[in-house]
Every structure is written in C-alpha cells, then in structure tokens.
Amino acid sequence: MTEKVVYLDNNATTMVDPKVFEVMKPYFCEYYGNPSSMHEFGGKVSKAVAKAREQVKEFFGANDAKEIIFTGSGSEGDNMAIRGVLEANKNKKHIITTKIEHPAVLNLFKYFEKQGYSVTYLSVDSKGNLDLNELSEAISDDTALVSMMYANNETGVILPVEKAARLVKQKNPKIKFHVDAVQAAGKIPLDVKNTDIDLMTIAGHKIHAPKGIGALFVKTGTLLPAFIIGGHQERGKRAGTENVPYIIGLGEACELAQKAMDYEMTEVKRLRDKLENGILKTIYNAKVNGSTTNRVPNTTNIGFQYIEGELILLHLSDLGICASSGSACTSGSLEPSHVLKSMGVPFEALHGSIRFSLSRFTTEEEIDYVLKVLPDVIFKLNNISPYQRELKELEAKHNK
C-alpha cells in the first residue's frame, strides 16, 4: 500500500475534525468533573454539556435543547426511538419502514416481525425513490410507527421524509414518525422545527466527531420510556454519567457542519460530480446506481459492469484509495446489497458496485488522482472477465 491515502469512504466513517479534537481535549485530564456534582468544578462541565446540547439543537433545527438526548451511536438512537415508541404504544401492532434501511433499523423491524408485529416494508423504484402512495395505503388504525431514513447510505438518494411525515399525520396523528438521519446529517439541512417528524437520529462519526457518540431528537410531547434505567441523566431516558468529552466534540462537530453546509452543497458536490462525470466519460462499463438529481452532495454509487466489487476495492486499496462496495464478497454475508437489489439493479452492475463518498476534506488533487489511476485498474480487471462479448458491446455503445 502506498503512503498516501485518498479517503473516499466518508459514508462509512469520517476523520475527526482537528478543531473538534481540540475542544474535546481539556475534558479528559483538566475538566474531568461530573456534570451532576454540586461543586463548581463539576458545574463548569455541566455548562459545557449544556452548550453542546444547544449546538446540537441548532443543528437539528429543533425548538428546545430539552428535545436532544445524547446516545452512544446511530444504532442506539434508532433502537431508543423505535423500541421506545412501541413500548409506549403496546396496543398497536403494525409498523412501517422501507426496504432500503440501514441494518440498525431493518434488523430491528425484522425482530419485531418475529415478535408478532405486522410490518410493511415500502419498496423503491429503480432510481431509489419512494412511492408515497404506497405509504398512504399502508397506514391503518393499528399502525404505531413509521421509520424512514433521510438519505440512503449506499446511493445517497434522499427520501421525502417531511412529505411522508405530513401524510402520516394527516391520516392518523397518533402515529409516530422516526427519521434515521445518520447519512443526511451534515450533507443537507435537517430543520425539524416546522415538520411533523417526532424523532430523528444522528451519529457523530459521520460528521467529523468521534465514534461512540450520537444524538436523538425527541419532539416535545412524544412519550418515550427510559431506554437505560438508572440515574436522572438525559432526563431519565438514558441513565449513565455523560460521555462528556464526546458530547463536547459532537456539539462542536454539529456547529462546524452547520457552517460548512453551503460548502458541502456547492464545493463537495462539484468534486463529486467531477469524479462521477470523469468516470462515466472514460470508463465504458460504468453506470450510476440511483437518482442523480435527488441525492446528498457527497455520494456516488457506480456499477462497474461485468467485474466484481471486492476485486476493484483491493486494487484501489493498493493505490491508497479507500471506497466501499455493495458486492456480496465484501460483506461476508454472501448477499449483495439489499439496497441495490431493492432498486432492481441488474446483477452485472450489482456485484461491481462501488460507492465513493467525499467530505469537506476531500481535495481537487485527490479527485484528479483517482480519475487518473482508476481507468487502468478497471480495464485491467475487464481483461480478466469471462464476459468479453458483453464488455465489447458496452465499449462500442460508449464510443458512438
């Protein structure tokens, strides 16, 4: 592996912003007090946690800092929201989600299905877009909860969560609406204030905070039982002494992400488009999976037809390029991406799908480097493929 790393796997995790790390540092050895303590030493920490909660509130666009619960991860936020809503509405046995959710939500729904819940998994079209009519028809008097991701982790396609929430509330105001915004956070504004969304999950490590911290927005008036029973922390919903340095880090990361939002939606988008267009122009067996118009600005998912994804990643890794794949071979599960399968991506593109995800730290030089070396990798692997005739046809079509 070469020394230089071009990190284009920011949907997997991100670098901690050095500015975030700086503000966290004093809360390890210097200001290590317990925010619940009566002394001034702890009180100072308590104020810092309150400031972080305020920063996260602003990031969500929420009305009140009380609506923010700090969690340990995105999966924890999803669990707290979904399990909590169901526990508080025990008499209702129908829940709705989509086929393209992250395993944190999907496997939880499968768990409740086994427990006797009836579950509707909403489908998506070939572009990864949702049909709100299907949602509308699925809603019943027995529905307790709808949980939907804001942006898909693999394709970056944005789901119409605000419209969906409005539709759900119009049909039945008692249904709770949860949004897994882990992949949307920091890429598009969240702004829950004027929506019908009741709960929203984010994870720190996708927005340049460290791993091990996240937050859940719970709209005032949403009944949610304690997820961890014990002390009074997080208004009794999640007991346990606060993870102070990480909370401070998340607060800072949220503020920085908010400030970088314009940059994200213009400059990061420009670099992503440059990468995508460059690949499509030079590589004849490449095609984009999912919508190109309705997407977060940092993600592109490209299917390299008739070659396999893991093999591409291994060769890219040797060149210092980090990306990820929806191929079966990379997951260890033998199953290729459930997201791309739900979209009906044909097998020749499904197994060779590569996701490139940028961040505000991605540079023009890095994109130029990838565009320079990627074609040779793909053409070398094309030569190994048994599907030479199909590849020749694609090449001829491309050159027309």
Partner: protein, 273 residues
C-alpha cells in the same frame, strides 16, 4: 478487510494465464453472473493426455481470481488423471489457505476443473441440470453439497455456506442442508467395528446405552447393564422390571439391538446374560 495470504494477494494482483484460449481441447465453466462468481477454464491437452496449457477468465473477488490463477499453474504438465485428483482443498492449500468465508472460491475452481475434464472426455457437461437443486438462490445442487461436505468433513451449516455459498441468501434451504449434513455425519460415525479397538467399542456401546437405551427402559422401571464385549457380540443384562417382563426378549432384539445397530454398526449382535 479479509486476511489474505501473500500468495493470494500475489495471484489476484498479478493473475497468471488470463484470457481466452484459441482452439482449446476442453472448456469448463462454473458459477454465474447472478451468484457474483463465474469462472471459465480452458485446457489444451496433447495426444498423451498431458495438459500443456491452461487459461482462465474469472468474474469474482480477489480469492476467486487467485484460486483460478493458481489452478492454471497447478494443471500445466499434469495428465488428465492427475488433474482429476485435484480437490478444492488442494487449491486452497496451494494459496497458503483461504479465509473460511472464501472457501467457496476454491470449490468453484474445482467445479470448473471437473466440468473441463468432463468436456474433454466428451461427457455431457450439462448433466448437473438434472440434479436436484437444494439452494435455489445460488443454484447449488445436492451433489455439489454432498461432495463438499464429504471431502472437507464439514459438520455445520455455516461451514457449508462458506464452502458452497448454499443457504447464504434467503435461508429457505437451511433445513434441507442440515439434513444432508446429518445424514453424511451419521454414516461416517458408523465405522467397521472390526477396525475398532475393544476400548473404543465399549465406550461407543456405553454411550449409546446411556443416551438412547437406558432412559427408555427406566421409564418403565427397568434398566440395563453392559457386561462384556467380544468381537461383534455385546453381552448385556436386563435389570429391574425388565428382568421379569415377558416381553424382554422382544425388547432386546427390537429395541436394544436395533439401537446399537443404528448408531454403531449393523454387524452388532446382542446377547442377554
């Protein structure tokens, strides 16, 4: 990230003998685009039945390419008879081992080799089509499963998934696969008692008595004791209610002997003392 050996990395980075062969003596294919793994193997065989050249084209991951590449190296210079003896484990061994989840790549290499040899011999390479497909998602046949389980002594479902991919998707065939594993394992346990030491046999007999026979007899207030073992004859004595039961000879033949026969060997004979 997978733990690949240096050899695997060398072979996927610099695959040997890549490409289509002109006028091959035999072609063998395995896998499919749907599975995410496909291999086409070409052989050139001279008049003496010696493989003079081998080439491949593979759609698949790093270990699939490495398995194909090393297989072509292994084949060159071998006779068809020698080539026929190469197992999937030989392919994995030549690579210095594969991660368990990737063993199916070596199985695919072996399948393509089998198909190529069948093609060379003029056998119908599509004979697999008539076979019973167990895993419908990955088109894994019963024969492929049996071969993988027997050759690699696989004992649980997860191993079988790693070696053959069968059951890796929808999971509907898990019960069927487990049945095949159980059946093969049961057969394996039944060894020739002539090759068993007395101690081994006594332990096995005792085990079957304690697990399968005694609990049933105890339900009716009876019991059983192992007295002696001589060659294929098992000497037992019935206790408790069994002793005075007029059906005891029936119990002995139809239950005690039948159980021992089923679990150990059909050669066993039970004698009451």
């Amino acid at each position: 990230m997978w733990e690949y050996t240096e050899k695997v990395m060398d072979h996927y980075k610099n695959p040997r003998n890549v490409g289509e062969m002109e006028n091959p003596s035999a072609v063998g294919e395995a896998g499919s685009l749907v599975c995410g793994d496909a291999l086409k193997l070409y052989l050139k065989v001279d008049d003496n039945g010696i493989i003079t050249d081998a080439k491949f084209q593979t759609f698949g991951c790093g270990s699939a390419v490495a398995s194909s590449s090393i297989l072509t190296e292994m084949l060159k210079g071998k006779t068809i008879e020698e080539a026929q003896k190469i197992s999937n484990q030989d392919i994995a061994d030549a690579l210095g081992g594969l991660p368990p989840e990737k063993m199916h790549c070596s199985v695919m290499g072996h399948e393509a080799l089998e198909a190529a040899i069948a093609n060379y011999k003029g056998e119908d390479v599509n004979m697999h089509c008539d076979e019973k497909i167990i895993c419908k998602c990955y088109h894994v046949t019963e024969n492929t499963l049996r071969e993988a389980i027997e050759q690699n002594n696989l004992t649980d479902l997860e191993d079988v998934m790693n070696y053959t991919k069968a059951g890796g998707a929808c999971g509907q065939c898990h019960v069927a696969i487990q049945k095949i594993i159980d059946e093969i394992q049961k057969k394996k346990e039944k060894v020739d008692i002539k090759n068993m030491s007395v101690t081994q046999l006594v332990l096995k007999v005792n085990n079957v008595i304690e697990k399968h026979i005694a609990p049933e007899l105890r339900k009716d207030g009876g019991d059983i004791e192992l007295v002696d073992v001589k060659e294929n004859k098992i000497y037992v004595s019935l206790k408790g209610m069994c002793k005075s039961c007029k059906f005891s000879s029936n119990t002995l033949k139809n239950f005690v002997e039948a159980s021992l026969k089923e679990h150990i060997s059909p050669d066993i004979e039970v004698v009451e003392v």
